[in-house]
C-alpha cells in the first residue's frame, strides 16, 4: 500500500510540470477521440464478425449482435464527423492496417466469395490433389492432399483465427480490465485476492496452461475462445491495475470525488475512459499472441480439428510433405506471420501514443 499512498504527490508534480511546459490538458483531451473511435471501430467489426460467423447461435442473439454492431458503427461515424484529421500515418502503418483489413474482409465475406471447394473433401473427387500453386489451374495457391483449395482454406482459416483472437481478447479485456481497475482503485483485500489469482495464472507458461486446459475440454471454437480469454486475463488485469493506480492519483479524480460522485461513477465515467487507450493498444499485441497460441494448438493437433481448416492445422497437414510441397506449409505460415507482424506493429504504434 505504501507506494500507492506516495503517488498523489508524484502525480501532482507531473501534472504541474506539464502545465508549466505549456502542455495543458488540451492536447491530451484532443487525442482521446481517436482512441474512442478506434474502440468503436473495433467493437463494430467484432460484433459484426461474431454475428456473421457464429451461425450456430439462435437468431435473436445474432440480431442483438448485429444491432450492437450497427450501434458501434453509428458511434464510429458520429465520432468521425467531429474529428480533425491529423497528418497521414507512415507506410508501415498503412501496410499493417491494409493487411488486417484484408484478413477481416476475407473472414467476413468468405461465404459469399466465388472460391473453389475448400471445406468438403467429398466434393473434390475430380480435383487433382497436391496441385502446385499457379495461375492457370484455377487454384491460385494449389490444392492439398485431399484436393481442397489452399486459398479457400486460408480464407476460412482467417475466420477461426479472428473469432478466436478477437473473442479471447475481448473476454480478457473485459474481465481482466474490470478486475484490474477495481483492485487498483480499492486496494486492500480486493487487491490481494485479485493479485494472487493473477499470480497463479502467470505461474503457468502460457502454452502449457492452454494445453492443460484443452486436455480436459473438447477443442471447439467456443471452448478455445474461453480458454484463450483466461490466458489473456492476467496481462490486462496487471496493466489496468497499474494504470488505475496512476490515474486515481490525478487531480481530476480528486475533484470528482470532492464534488460528491459515487464510487461507481468515478470508476465508469472518470477512470475507465482514461484507461481505454492503453488497454486498447495492448489488446492488439494480445490478439496477435492469442492467434499464435491458437495456431500452435492446432498445429500440435490438440486444437480445432480437421475438416474445419485453421492456419495451424493446415501447417500440421502440410508438414509430412514439407520437402515436395512446401507451399502447403508456407502459405498459412506467411498468413500467420503477416497478421502477427501487423497486429504487433499497430499495437506498438498505439502504445507509443497512448501508453500511460
Amino acid at each position: 500500500m505504501l507506494p500507492t499512498e506516495k503517488l498523489p504527490a508524484a502525480g501532482a508534480t507531473l501534472d504541474d510540470g506539464r502545465a508549466a511546459a505549456g502542455e495543458t490538458l488540451g492536447p491530451a483531451r484532443a487525442r482521446l477521440p481517436v482512441a474512442v473511435m478506434a474502440a468503436w471501430a473495433f467493437a463494430a467489426v467484432a460484433f459484426l464478425v461474431l454475428a456473421t460467423v457464429l451461425s450456430r447461435l439462435v437468431l435473436p442473439l445474432r440480431l442483438v449482435l448485429v444491432i450492437l454492431g450497427l450501434f458501434s458503427a453509428y458511434r464510429l461515424v458520429a465520432a468521425l464527423a467531429r474529428w480533425r484529421r491529423p497528418a497521414s500515418p507512415p507506410t508501415g502503418t498503412w501496410l499493417a492496417v491494409g493487411w488486417l483489413g484484408l484478413v477481416v474482409a476475407g473472414a467476413v465475406f468468405a461465404g459469399v466469395l466465388p472460391l473453389p471447394e475448400g471445406l468438403n473433401p467429398a466434393a473434390t473427387f475430380t480435383v487433382p490433389a497436391l496441385l502446385n500453386p499457379g495461375l492457370h489451374s484455377g487454384h491460385l495457391l494449389g490444392t492439398d492432399t485431399e484436393g481442397l483449395d489452399t486459398l479457400t482454406e486460408l480464407i476460412y482459416g482467417a475466420r477461426i483465427s479472428l473469432i478466436v483472437g478477437i473473442g479471447g481478447t475481448l473476454t480478457g479485456l473485459i474481465v481482466g480490465g474490470i478486475a484490474g481497475m477495481v483492485s487498483g482503485y480499492f486496494g486492500g483485500p480486493v487487491d490481494g485476492v485479485t493479485s494472487y489469482i493473477v499470480d497463479v495464472l502467470l505461474t503457468f507458461p502460457p502454452l502449457i496452461l492452454l494445453i492443460a486446459m484443452v486436455a480436459f475440454l473438447s477443442p471447439d471454437v467456443l471452448n478455445i475462445t474461453i480458454v484463450l480469454g483466461i490466458l489473456a486475463l492476467p496481462g490486462f488485469a496487471r496493466l489496468a491495475r497499474a494504470n488505475t493506480i496512476k490515474i486515481a492519483s490525478r487531480d481530476y479524480v480528486t475533484a470528482s470525488r470532492t464534488l460528491g460522485s459515487r464510487q461507481v461513477r468515478i470508476l465508469l465515467k472518470v477512470i475507465a475512459p482514461n484507461l481505454i487507450p492503453s488497454l486498447f493498444a495492448y489488446s492488439f499485441i494480445i490478439m496477435s499472441f492469442l492467434i499464435v497460441a491458437e495456431a500452435s494448438l492446432s498445429f500440435l493437433g490438440v486444437g480445432i480439428q480437421r475438416p474445419t481448416p485453421t492456419w495451424g492445422n493446415m501447417i500440421a497437414q502440410g508438414d509430412p510433405t514439407l520437402n515436395a510441397h512446401p507451399a502447403l506449409v508456407l502459405a498459412p505460415a506467411v498468413a500467420i506471420l503477416f497478421t502477427v507482424l501487423s497486429a504487433n506493429f499497430i499495437g506498438q504504434r498505439l502504445q507509443k501514443r497512448w501508453g500511460l
Binding site: 502449457i208 480436459f216 498445429f299 501447417i315 508438414d319
Partner: protein, 372 residues
C-alpha cells in the same frame, strides 16, 4: 535478505498448492466417466476396474488429492493410465534430460548473442547498426516458434546448399563493410579502428568460409542420447535449440538495448570515457551490470516461453522430450502423466523466478532491504 527469501518461498509454495489443486480439479471437471473416456468402448471390465482403482474414483476427492500430493512430494506420481503401465516418474525422468539439454543450449546461445547484439545496438544508438538490429528483432519476435522451426527445417534439412552459400555471402559482405569503413576511418566497436576492422573482417571471412565448407545437412527427426555419441547428440539437438534461441536473441537484445541506452548516458560512464577507457571496457565492465535488470526479469519469464516452445519444437523435430510426453499423454487422455508434467513445469518455472529474485539482490544491493 533471508526474510525476503523466506517470504518469496512461502509465496511460491502457496502458488504451487493452488497449481496442484487446479490440475487435480481439471480431472474432476472433465466430462463423462474417466475410465470410459480413457479406455473407449472396447474395454474389458477388468481394465475398467484397474483404472477406477488407479484413479481412486470411489474415494472422496480430498482423500484422492491428499493421496496424490503425498505421493508427488516423494516423487511418486503413480502409474501411467494407458499401457504400457510404467511409472509416471520414470517416464518423465527419461524425457527431462532431452528437454533440459535443448533449453540450456538455447538459453546460453540466446544470452551470448542477445547481450552482444543488444550492447552493440545501444552503443550505436540511432545509427544504421542499431536500426537494423531493432527492426530485425521486432520482425523475428513476431515469428511463431512452429513457423520458425519449419522454415529452418526447409532450409537446413532440405536445402543445406542454400544455407552454405548464404553464410559465405554474409561473411564476405560483413568483411567488406568492415574494411571499407576502416578505410574511411570511422570508429568501430573496438577503439582503434584499423586493427579492430581487420580482426572483424578476418573473423567474418573465416566464419563464412568455414560455414560454406562444413555446414552439414541436419536430420529431420530423431534423437541420440549424449551417452551414446556427443557429435550425434549435438547434430540432433542443433536445429531444435536453434529454433528456440532465435526466439530468445531478439527479446534479450531489445530488452538490454533499452536499459543500456539509459545507462550509457549516466555520469560514471562519462567519467570512464574521460579516463580514456576503451569502448569494450566501458560497455562490458562498467555499463553491463547496471543494465541487466530488465534482462534478468525477462530471462525468468522466458523460461516459461522456452518450456512451451520446447513442446512445439519437440513435435516438429520428433524429440522424445517432456513436451512430446505431455502431448502424447493429452491425446491419449493419460491424465496422471498430464498432471505430473504440468506440475513439474510449474515447479521449474517457480524455482527459476525465485532465482531471479535472488539475482536482483545480487545486482542491486538496495533491493536486499526492500523485502515487501
Amino acid at each position: 535478505m533471508l526474510r525476503m527469501l523466506g517470504l518469496r518461498i512461502a509465496r511460491a509454495i502457496a502458488v504451487l498448492v493452488a497449481v496442484s489443486l487446479g490440475t487435480f480439479s481439471l480431472i474432476a471437471l472433465s466430462p463423462g466417466d474417466p475410465a470410459a473416456t480413457i479406455l473407449g468402448t472396447t474395454a474389458t471390465p477388468a481394465e475398467v476396474a484397474y483404472l477406477d482403482q488407479q484413479l481412486g474414483v470411489n474415494q472422496p476427492w480430498p482423500d484422492r488429492y491428499w493421496h496424490w500430493v503425498t505421493g508427488a512430494v516423494q516423487g511418486n506420481f503413480g502409474l501411467s493410465l494407458v499401457p504400457p503401465r510404467q511409472s509416471v516418474a520414470q517416464m518423465l525422468g527419461q524425457a527431462v534430460p532431452v528437454t533440459a539439454e535443448i533449453v540450456v543450449i538455447a538459453l546460453v546461445l540466446g544470452l551470448i548473442f542477445g547481450i552482444a547484439l543488444g550492447a552493440w545496438a545501444a552503443h550505436r544508438q540511432d545509427q544504421a547498426a542499431d536500426r537494423i538490429i531493432t527492426a530485425g528483432s521486432f520482425a523475428l519476435i513476431s515469428v511463431p516458434a512452429f513457423v520458425l522451426g519449419l522454415l529452418l527445417a526447409i532450409l537446413l534439412v532440405f536445402h543445406p546448399t542454400w544455407v552454405r552459400v548464404l553464410v559465405l555471402a554474409a561473411g564476405l559482405v560483413i568483411a567488406g563493410r568492415a574494411l571499407s569503413s576502416a578505410s574511411q576511418r570511422k570508429p568501430l566497436l573496438v577503439r582503434r579502428p584499423g586493427r579492430g576492422a581487420l580482426v572483424l573482417a578476418a573473423v567474418a571471412t573465416a566464419i563464412g568460409v568455414l560455414g560454406f565448407l562444413f555446414i552439414p545437412a541436419f536430420p529431420r527427426f530423431g534423437w541420440t542420447p549424449i551417452t551414446t555419441s556427443l557429435a550425434g547428440n549435438l547434430r540432433f539437438a542443433f536445429l531444435p535449440a536453434l529454433t528456440l534461441t532465435l526466439g530468445l536473441i531478439p527479446l534479450f537484445a531489445q530488452v538490454l538495448r533499452a536499459d543500456m541506452v539509459q545507462t550509457l548516458q549516466q555520469n560514471f560512464i562519462v567519467v570512464a570515457r574521460a579516463k580514456g577507457m576503451s569502448e569494450l571496457h566501458i560497455i562490458f565492465r562498467e555499463a553491463l551490470r547496471p543494465s541487466l535488470f530488465s534482462l534478468v526479469t525477462v530471462l525468468g519469464l522466458s523460461i516459461g516461453a522456452l518450456l512451451a516452445g520446447s513442446v512445439v519444437v519437440e513435435n516438429i523435430f520428433g524429440l522424445p522430450g517432456l513436451g512430446s510426453v505431455l502431448l502424447n499423454a493429452i491425446t491419449s487422455k493419460n491424465y496422471s502423466v498430464v498432471q505430473a508434467g504440468v506440475l513439474l513445469i510449474a515447479l521449474v518455472f517457480l524455482i527459476v523466478n525465485l532465482l531471479v529474485d535472488i539475482a536482483y539482490a545480487y545486482l542491486d544491493p538496495r533491493t536486499r532491504r526492500a523485502a515487501n
